[in-house]
Each structure stands twice: as C-alpha cells, then as structure tokens.
Amino acid sequence: MRYRWSTGSLTWLIHRITGVILTFYLIAHIYVLSHLKDPQSYNEIMALMKNPAVKISELILLAVVLKHAFAGLRITLFELGVSTKYQKSITYLMASLVALLWSIGAFYFIKEAL
Amino acid sequence: MDITTHYFDTVVIGSGLAGCRAAIESVNYGTVAVLSKLYPTRSHSTAAQGGIGAALGNEEEDNPEWHTYDTVKGSDFLGDQDAIEIMCYDAIPTIIELEHMGVPFSRTPEGKIAQRRFGGHTRDFGAAPVRRACYSADRTGHAVLFALYEQCQLKGVKFFQEFQVLDIVIENNKVQGVIALNIKNGSIHVFEAKAVIVASGGYGKLFKVTSNAYATTGECLSILFRQGIPLEDMEFFQFHPTGLYGLGILITEGARGEGGVLINGKGERFMERYAPTIKDLAPRDMVSRAILTEIREGRGINGKEYVYLDLRHIDKKILQERLPEITTFCKIYMGIDPSESPIPVVPTAHYAMGGIPTDNDGRVLRDVDGSVVEGLYAAGECACVSVHGANRLGCNSLLDTVVFGRRAGKAVGSVLKSIERGKVKKERIKINIDCIEMIRNNKGKETVASIRKKLQSSMMDKCSVFRTEEGLKELLEEIKILKERYKELTISDKSQIFNTELLEAVELGHMLTLSEVIALSALQRTESRGAHYREDYPERDDENWLKHTFAFLTEKDIEFKYKPVRITRFKLEERKY
C-alpha cells in the first residue's frame, strides 16, 4: 500500500529498522565475544577488525546506534510530557544531533585508521 | 429478492436530534430500532452551530414567558401558542437533562451553562436582546447529537445505519411498519412495529443555495403525503440571512449575537433602518429580506450580489473561543480571516417550518379536525406542531427537536400496551420492489442531475425569499414538465450494492412532489407573513389568513383545508423590532 510519508512516520520506520539492525548486530557481537577463548583467537579477531570493510560497517553501526537512541529519546520526551506541538522540530533537532555526534565519531575513527 | 423482516415495538426514522431523543425515551417502554440513511452522527443535526434556546437565566434575568412571547411574535403569530408555551417551559428541564446526559455546553466562569444572544430573543417582551441560547462553542448540534447517540447506545437502542426508508405503511388508519432498503447490499428490510416515529429532518435540498446537507431531501414527508396524510404550512421556508457567498455554508446567527454586524456596499449598517431596536438581531425572515432588498437596490458590495458580515471588531479571543468553526470555514473555503476581513454573505435556504402536522405529543394528524393516525408520530424538523409558525427563531429548532422528540417518545410509551403489532402485507412490499426495479431498468434519456438542477434553480428563483403569483405559476408549470421528464429517467448504475444513483432517483421523485406542494401552498396564501413574502400581497392579512394551511393529495389534485391558529395568551400585534 502506498501512503504518503511524513516526518513522524519516517522517524518511526527508521526507529524500527535500526532496531532490527541492532538486534542482528547484537547477535553477531555475542557470537564474536563467545569466540574469545584464548589470546590466539583474540589476535585473529582483532586482525579481522582492521579490515576496511569492517571499519566502514562500524561507522554505519555508529549511525544506527545514534539514530536509534535519539529516536527513543524523542519518544521518551513526549511520553514525559514535552509538547507534541514541537513534534517536527524535535525530530529535526534529534536528526541534527545524530549528524553532529556521528561526524565527531567519524572524525576519530578516521584519524585512528590513518 | 432478498427480504428480511424485523419486529420492534417502536421504529424511529431518522437519527438526528429528534430521532435519538425520541428513541432514548421510548426504549424505556419497549424495543426500539432507529433507521437512518446515514451513520447516526452524520445526520444533519450535527451541523447546527449557534445554540439551543432555554430561559435558564444563567447570564441575566430571563423567564420562559418572555421566551414564549418572542417565539409567538417571531412566528408572526402563526405559531400555536399552547404548543409554544409547552416548548418554552419544557425547555429548561430538557436542557438540564441534556447536560446530565453529557453534552459539553460552554460554561460561565462559575461553571454554569453559558448563554448568548440570538436573533429575535429578547427580555421584557421585546425591550432588548437577551442571552438565551445555550451553546457549545459553534458546534452545538454536534455536541448534543453525540451525547444523545451515546445515550442511545448505553440504553440499548438498535441502530440500522445506511438503511433508506422507502415506504411507511399505513393501513386502516393504523401504522403497520416501515419498508427500507439496506444501502450496503440492496436488500429489502421490513420493520413491523406498533408505533413509528418519523424524525427525518428537513428538505433544504429543494433549493439551489442551501445550508442543508445532501441528505436533506424530505422523502418521508412525501411518502406520507402520497398516502393522504396532509402537510401543514409548507409555504413557510426559512432563508438564513448569512450563508457564505457562492456556497451557502452557514455562518451562525451567533456571530451577530457576539456583536457582528451587516454592512452594505456603501458601508452602512443597514439593519438600523429595518429594525431600529434590535438591528442585526432581528428575526431571520426580516434580515434576509433586508439583505436582498439592499442587493436589489444596488447596494450590494461593489454592486455584486452579496453584503458583508463584519466581525473584525470582535475580540480575537472571543472568535477563537466561541466561533472557532465558522472562523475555520471562512479560512478554508473563502481564504479570508474574519478577524481581518469582512465575510461576503447572502441568504441561504435553511429551515422548513412546515411539515407533517402533529399535536403537542407528536401524534400525526390526519385532518384539520384533530383526528390522528394510530401509532404514527413525528418530531423534529419534518414535523409541524406548530411552534415556529411562519418563521422560526434561531436556536428554537434544536429545542423543538429535543422537546417534542422526548414528548413523542413518552406518548408512544403510554400507548404501547394497547396498540396491536403492525403487519406489512406482501403486496405492499412488492409494490416497493417493483418501483425500485422500474427506476433501475427504465430506459429514457433524462438524468437525475439534469432534472434536479433545474428543479433546484427554479425553486430558488421563484419560491425563495420573494414570491409572486406569476413566478409561482411559472414554477408550477416547470414542475409539471419536470415530472414528465422524470418518467423518462434513466440511471447508469444498475448494481445492488451501494447504489447511490438509484437512491437519488427515488429522492428526486419525492422532491418533485414536495416542491409542488410548497409552490401551491405559497400560491394560495395571498398575504405576506413571516418567511412567506408575496410581493403582490405585501401585507399580513389576519382577517383571512390567520390559519394553518393543510395540503391534501386527493384523487383529482392537491386540495387545501385550513386549521385555526390556537391563540391563548398573546394578542395579535404588528411585528416590529
């Protein structure tokens, strides 16, 4: 079904999608952790982490985490009584914060990688 | 054809204020079904804006006697005074009851029901305007209708929504039941009953420019009329002075109650000339005539066919709180903000004073001598008690619907035990099915729209605020032609499911009948009274015409009989404001 998107529904959809991604990430994360049995496997995995593909996915992961967290924060604000009149502005504010924090994060990531 | 038969002690036709109020009362005595061609809360009552009248005296001194006087005078002395007295005295407990049912009336600072001024409502027998209209911002009808519908649900009234009534069966002078069509699937439903309360609302759609909804086509009146039940005072149709120019959407009288004024092309506040005492709050018939006179004499805005309703001087906060809805209408439909620019308005067809004659308990009268049809009741705009006489005062209609809806419901309750259950004969059902099938399969060249458009514009031109013998005769000729054309009707939608084209065709047939009754009634009343203004007879003629018109359909033609007006307390006087 086609239905026109609005700020609210887009944010909601992104919140869901990021949620799903994070769930999968968590599984992967636990899977990886469960393989850290000895120094050798630790080193192997850490070497894998240096792979540029993994670096890029970490950047994406940061975006996903930030987006999800701030979407949750936004909803919490409304539930605590912040006026829904500012629904759109808060969404934009949150999006800007996500962008800002991600840029800072990305800066350090890249700096480290170089 | 799929036919289902139901039995209910009482069947109510219409789920507007009158229907719901009657149902709430009669469900105390037996089972009740309410049939409505719309979903209940979509009934036209929901559009009522301004208020509902009762001399509560919450804002300033007031009493039901003044209310009675105003209504009598407003009716141009054609209203039956005993009925008016009942309504005005019953008003107070009825409104209080509505409040207890949950109607969110606007409030005074101390929490009582707030009241505002309305056209024709005065203190001390005409001395000055009084605050009598109880309101819920400018959504009074909506607020009351929802509360009543909700109470119906609570009390277990059974609703049949989107059921269009095709026939009200009267046999041996006793109502037997109702035949209806389920719009959703085209099946026929027969409702046998002990009593039937008709609350089917008005018929403003006979006119081109109207504040009324598409559903207000008045077929139930015509259904009864065709069976020999008279229609009373059909020549009196109210035109509301302030409809949005070009659309007819209503701007409530409450806008003038809150201080709005009418101005013409020369910037004059012209109502000062027509009604020096209460000016813009004069009754609607007078204000409508005044506006059209200004326009006719070239004093419309820029010579165009409208005047201005000016609300600019009213405090923005008041507009926001008490007239939010009409402010929105102006913004959406005209693109203007009433706090900044004046609103272009013209009179719009609004309210039917005439209708099915009833006594003070809603029993439908069969003749001028007061004989009744057993088990048949009517209330609301479709009925004529008559409390509105030749002209209804603002906020008396909602009052009429709840007061007389309640009384009709009670009256039904008192006789249910002694009436026999009705029986609808097979032949009668067949006639109705045949009629529907005939319309469905007719092969002509006329369309519903073309006939309806012509009818509406002719009615508007020749039978609205100003009438003449010549015009009415022409109109009758035209209606005759339209009736011929109706026989050549064809519809393109042949389906059983939600066939609105078919239903519109059925409605159109009834609209033609009603228009004829109205035009003939207007033609024979050779005087001017209230909303009925004959340019060739501009004076009120109490000697000959202080009486109600009853139109009957006989074998030959439409005939008239007359019923004297019941005058109890207030003597005739000249109607000046």
């Binding site: 086609r2 239905y3 026109r4 609005s6 609210g8 529904s9 909601w12 909803i75 409304f78 539930e79 009584g81 006026s83 829904t84 009149k85 629904q87 | 719309l38 979903y39 809360t41 979509r42 036209h44 929901t46 559009a47 409104i95 209080i96 409040e99 207890h100 049912m101 949950g102 969110p104 409030r107 005074t108 600072p109 101390e110 929490g111 009582k112 819920s136 959504r139 909506h142 607020a143 509360a147 909700e150 109470q151 649900q153 609570l154 909804a213 598409y214 559903a215 959407i249 209408f329 439909y333 369309t447 519903v448 729209a449 393109s492 939608d493 389906s495 499911i497 939600f498 609105t500 084209e501």
Partner: protein, 237 residues
C-alpha cells in the same frame, strides 16, 4: 478562475470484472471548488456509477474521508486549487471496500464501542446542571470536536498491522470521557483501553495528526492518557 483537473480514481465495482481498475476523468473546476464538487461533477455528467459518501459538504459530518494524493482527507474540505493538476483518489486505506470510494466502517465504529463511549455517572443528578468550570472543560474541548471520519485510524501503521488496535479515534473518545469532570467510570474505562490492543500500542507515529481535518492533536491526548493510566496503576496489556 477555472482550470482543468485530471481525477485519477481507484474504482472497485463489486459486480464487474475486473474488480479493481483506475479511471481517469478530466473536468473543469474553479478555484473555490473542492474535490467533492469534482466527484459530484463526474457522477452527474460523466459516470453515474461513481460512488462515494457525502452529506454536509462542509467538513462537519465526517462522511467523505478518502485518500487524496496519498493522504487521508475530507473531500469536501480539500480545495482543488491546493492540489496538483493530477488528483489521485483512493478509498480510505486498510478497511474493506464496499464500492469505489465507499469503505465498510464497521470495524472502525466497533472500536469506539469498546471504550464505553458515553458519560457514566450514577450519582443522583442535581436539580440544575452539574457544574463544570471552564478550566475543567478546557481539557476536553479539543477532543469533543472529532467527527468520526476515520482518517486518523486508517492512516495509522499500527492499525494497518493490527486490525484489533483501538486506534487514535477510539482512544480520543476514551479521553473525552476520562477527562470529563462529570464522568465517574475512570477505572472501568481504563481497564477497557489498556488491553493488549489498546493504549500501549500507540508508538507516536503522528500520522493521525497529519490528517485530522479538525486539527486535533490526537497524540497529545493519547500521551496524556498513558500518563494517566500509569498514575492510576493500569499498566497491563
């Protein structure tokens, strides 16, 4: 000023094949006319079988809600001049279609019945009106303007996924009574709305606010309900 518009309408003719098709109609409308006027014009002069609901024609009865250019609105309150030359019209989403633009609203109305939509107060009524201060009434003023058009509930993705979800309109109705100072059925009503398909299903998507023709901030009311329910200990569901 008159202009040509193309109305592209999703048809559903239950007794024809194919059941669903898109029809295009070209009509001339002036700048004051609304989508409803256009539909009527089509029905009157081009195709009499085109079916839609209508009554008041000025946005107070709630009959004519439909999806216009991808968004639910009242046809009688949407001026064509505010739209593009191509106007795409569909019935309200996610309700069973009866014919063309007419949907079966039963499901929608039934939701309302679940929230005990009537004032309940068994205390013997006083002789005069029950007093209600303007500031007490203030709380329900917005919620009483709902015309039950169904635009909100059918625009809600939660409802699309869970047809049992009460939806914005019914929750608003519950609010209207819960916050009416005259009502006494607080517990009963909270019980009724906090079930599995009730209040907590609202995820503040705000689609309802985008479409409400009465500009009711529905989500605000639902959030207030949530806080109220928590305060009263109704956190189940």
């Amino acid at each position: 000023m008159e202009r040509f518009y193309t109305f592209k309408i999703k048809r559903f003719l239950p007794d024809k094949t194919p059941l669903i098709r898109w029809d295009e109609f070209r009509i001339k409308l002036n700048s004051m006319e609304r989508v409803l006027d256009g539909l009527i014009k089509i029905k009157e002069s081009i195709d009499g079988t085109l079916t839609f609901r209508k009554s008041c024609a000025h946005g107070v009865c709630g009959s004519c809600a439909m999806k216009i250019n991808g968004k639910n609105r009242l046809a009688c309150q949407t001026l064509v001049k505010d739209l593009t030359e191509l106007v795409e019209i569909e019935p309200l989403p996610s309700l069973p279609v009866i014919k063309d633009l007419v949907v079966d609203m039963t499901l929608f109305f039934e939701k309302n019945d679940r929230v005990l939509p009537y004032l309940i107060n068994d205390e013997p009524p006083p002789e005069r009106e029950r007093l209600q201060l303007p500031k007490e009434q203030e709380r329900i003023l917005e919620s009483i303007t709902c015309v039950m058009c169904g635009s909100c509930t059918t625009s809600c993705p939660i409802f699309w996924a869970d047809k049992n979800y009460l939806g914005p309109s019914a929750l608003l109705k519950a609010y209207r009574f819960l916050f009416d100072s005259r009502d006494r059925a607080t517990e009963q009503r909270l019980e009724a709305i906090t079930g599995e398909h009730g209040l907590w299903r609202c995820h503040s998507v705000f689609n309802c606010i985008e479409v409400c023709p009465k500009e009711i901030d529905i989500t605000k009311h639902i959030l207030k309900l949530k806080r109220f329910a928590v305060k009263k200990g109704f956190t189940g569901g």
